[in-house]
């Protein structure tokens, strides 16, 4: 294995994130090619956590932009500080050169920086996480294109603002809708799948060092069998960890029908899924996974 990749995997491991070689290569390219990385995958597979860990690994700030429908320039890039502008106008009411006054109040001092502008104005490269981009509108994707390809933002009154330092951009998507080809073209891509059984046991052991190995194996086997079933919302790694933590708090050594009945709410978040599991025996979900 390439030494840089190996070092990356080890460093992430020290920050409680278990990377595989393939994903580590994508992170390596993100750092070296200075291209954004688009991570797609089911909810709960660790996409957001990856960005947080990257920021920790680099010892830099994480700027997170949580996307939602209706997100626009004023909440993501910049907004004029109208109150400050009005006060300035009042203070300099007698000023004769109105053009200069206009130029002044539409200057950089009157801009409220939002996450995207903050990320390119930072003195030190930051990690910019654009989380759940599939929730935002297509218009917002269009706003992003300039930033993602050229690391610059255009503000009509100020012109083009080029990045002082290039942020490391990670975009995540749960694939609730298709993203545009234009956006995809500007990014590196990685599909984050559910981890293998061995890797998930490692994750649980790493996060919960006091857990019994047998219990961790049972939890992971159960969860992997659940993922194979047709559920509305298959459990992610976060759910595995929550459940393992719950069982640990309850001093359980094994998973029993009663325990499943009482605690399955920390794994499944849909009524039909809960009923599906409650109607089966625990043994059906503890069949070894190939």
């Amino acid at each position: 294995m390439n030494k840089d990749i190996e070092a990356l995997i080890q460093d992430f491991y020290a920050h409680d994130y278990i990377l595989n070689e393939e994903l580590a290569t994508s992170i390596f390219l993100l750092k070296n090619l200075e291209k954004p990385l688009l991570l797609e995958g089911n909810p709960g597979v660790g996409k957001t956590m990856l960005a947080k860990t990257l920021a920790e690994h680099l010892g830099t700030n994480l700027i997170r932009l949580q996307c939602y429908e209706g997100l626009d320039v004023s909440t993501t890039i910049y907004e004029w500080n109208y109150q400050k502008q009005l006060l300035h106008i009042k203070l300099f009411e007698q000023e004769k050169d109105k053009k200069a006054l206009g130029n002044k109040i539409f200057g950089m001092d009157y801009v409220l920086q939002r996450p995207l502008l903050q990320s390119i104005s930072a003195d030190k490269p930051v990690v910019l996480l654009i989380d759940e981009i599939d929730r935002a509108d297509e218009e917002f994707e269009a706003y992003l294109l300039e930033l993602l390809s050229d690391f610059q933002i255009s503000i009509p009154e100020l012109g083009t603002i080029t990045a002082k330092t290039k942020p490391l951009v990670i975009l995540t998507s749960n694939r609730t809708r298709e993203l545009s080809d234009a956006l995809r073209r500007r990014c590196l891509y990685h599909w984050v799948d559910f981890p293998s059984k061995a890797k998930e046991i490692d994750i649980i052991a790493k996060k919960l060092p006091t857990i019994d190995e047998e219990l961790a194996t049972q939890v992971v086997t159960f969860i992997h069998n659940l993922r194979k079933s047709s559920l509305h919302k298959p459990p992610g790694i976060a759910e595995s960890l929550d459940w393992a933590k719950t069982l640990l708090l309850m001093n359980q050594k094994n998973i029993t029908d009663e325990i499943v009945h009482n605690t399955i709410g920390s794994v499944l978040k849909h009524k039909d899924d809960v009923e599906f599991v409650r109607n089966k025996t625990v043994q059906e979900f503890l069949v070894p996974v190939s």
Partner: protein, 378 residues
């Protein structure tokens, strides 16, 4: 030295073309990025080279799933043939650090031998072949073409769905929202600096697809099913039913996250797959059970069937007439229409034709892609 480097570049360009021909959307930027990683010496490590190209060339999960196999197929012979030679060179390169990458790349990636090139050419789906596959009737696809058609269908359906989406998008801003503008102005001494806009109402298209999965439609129903699955991503109000001797509401099964799971669920739950055809009875069942919910003057109903009715033609005619009356537009897609000399003279079709707004073929990829226009026009 330059010529040696060019050889590797040619090889990498060949791979880019190979991927492009397999529907990967790759521009000059991707090729530049690939060169950049190779020039940094990352091609020395086969896995790293593979994963790097994977991150650069893949843009969607479907590409991601196929890439490893494509990489193996294309690069394997080069890595294997030169493995021994490479070991020696790496040792040598350690001594001559500065020229390492260039020397390695030059000996590692030669222009493929003539016979290799010919073999690859045979494996390649070129532009002409894409056109041929688009025009091939689904019922006449042989085993060798099946996989290529699958890949092509996946990409073309994706492109079509993106076009759908763009056309369906409306500008978000409507007129000025005076009430909210005034409210925003309160803390600014009543000055209306911060204009609020009404959100333009998006036109919602409601579509109902009713797919015939009887035995006579066997060769078509799989592709038609895939087609509807793609459309489901972009029509939020899309309802999907299958029928043969009775009707099944499939929409709830489309909720699963991945395509394979959806197909598996449909395969498990649609019991009447490949059985007889009772179009009239199935449409009557649709009307009585789901009609009040999924039929209105906003609904477009699309029936995908060959019209070979084995039940009562009167029942079929009455059901189609009622559906037409209750919906905005009724479209019938018949795979047989693509056959040379086809006339809708079967009893079933003759009786329903007067009630249809559109009657189109759906026998190959090309005809399915043309439906885009039909659906947008209605």
């Amino acid at each position: 030295m330059q010529a040696v480097q060019k050889t590797f570049r040619e090889r990498l360009i060949d791979f880019t073309i190979y991927c492009r021909e397999r529907q990967f959307v790759l521009g000059p930027q991707e090729t530049r990025d690939a060169f950049a990683i190779a020039e940094k010496g990352y091609a020395l490590d086969r896995k790293m080279f593979q994963y790097s190209l994977k991150a650069i060339y893949c843009k969607r999960k479907e590409h991601f799933d196929r890439f490893d196999e494509m990489f193996q197929r294309f690069w394997s012979r080069y890595y294997e043939e030169k493995l021994e030679q490479r070991q020696k060179q790496i040792q040598q390169l350690k001594k001559e650090k500065d020229t390492a990458t260039v020397i390695f790349l030059g000996t590692e990636f030669k222009v493929p031998k003539k016979e290799v090139k010919e073999q690859e050419a045979k494996e390649t789906v070129g532009a002409n072949e894409s056109i041929r596959l688009r025009m091939t009737d689904f019922s006449k696809v042989d085993v060798t073409d099946k996989e290529k058609l699958e890949e092509l269908a996946e990409e073309l359906f994706h492109q079509m769905s993106m076009r759908f989406k763009r056309r369906l998008e409306n500008a978000n801003k409507g007129g000025i929202d005076i009430r909210n503008t005034i409210r925003h102005g309160i803390d600014k001494g009543g000055m209306m600096l911060d204009l609020a806009y009404k959100r333009k109402r998006k036109e919602k298209r409601k579509v109902v697809f009713i797919l015939d999965v009887s035995g006579s439609m066997d060769t078509y129903s799989y592709y038609l099913l895939r087609y509807v699955m793609v459309l489901k991503k972009y029509f939020k109000s899309l309802e999907f039913f299958t029928f043969s001797t009775h009707l099944t509401h499939v929409t709830p099964m489309l909720r699963a996250n991945n395509e394979a799971q959806i197909l598996k669920q449909i395969g498990t739950n649609v019991n009447s797959w490949s059985s007889g055809t009772k179009i009239g009875e199935s449409l009557t069942e649709f009307l009585s059970v789901y009609g009040s919910k999924f039929l209105s003057q906003k609904h477009i109903v699309v029936i995908l069937s060959d019209g070979l009715e084995t039940g009562s033609v009167t029942v079929l005619k009455e059901a189609v007439r009622t559906i037409r009356r209750k919906c905005k537009t009724l479209v019938w897609l018949n795979p047989l229409k693509g056959m040379k000399g086809f006339q809708p003279i079967q009893k079933g079709m003759v009786n329903v034709m007067p009630h249809l707004d559109a009657f189109e073929s759906a026998h190959n990829l090309d005809s399915l892609l043309k439906l885009e226009k039909v659906l947008m026009d209605v």
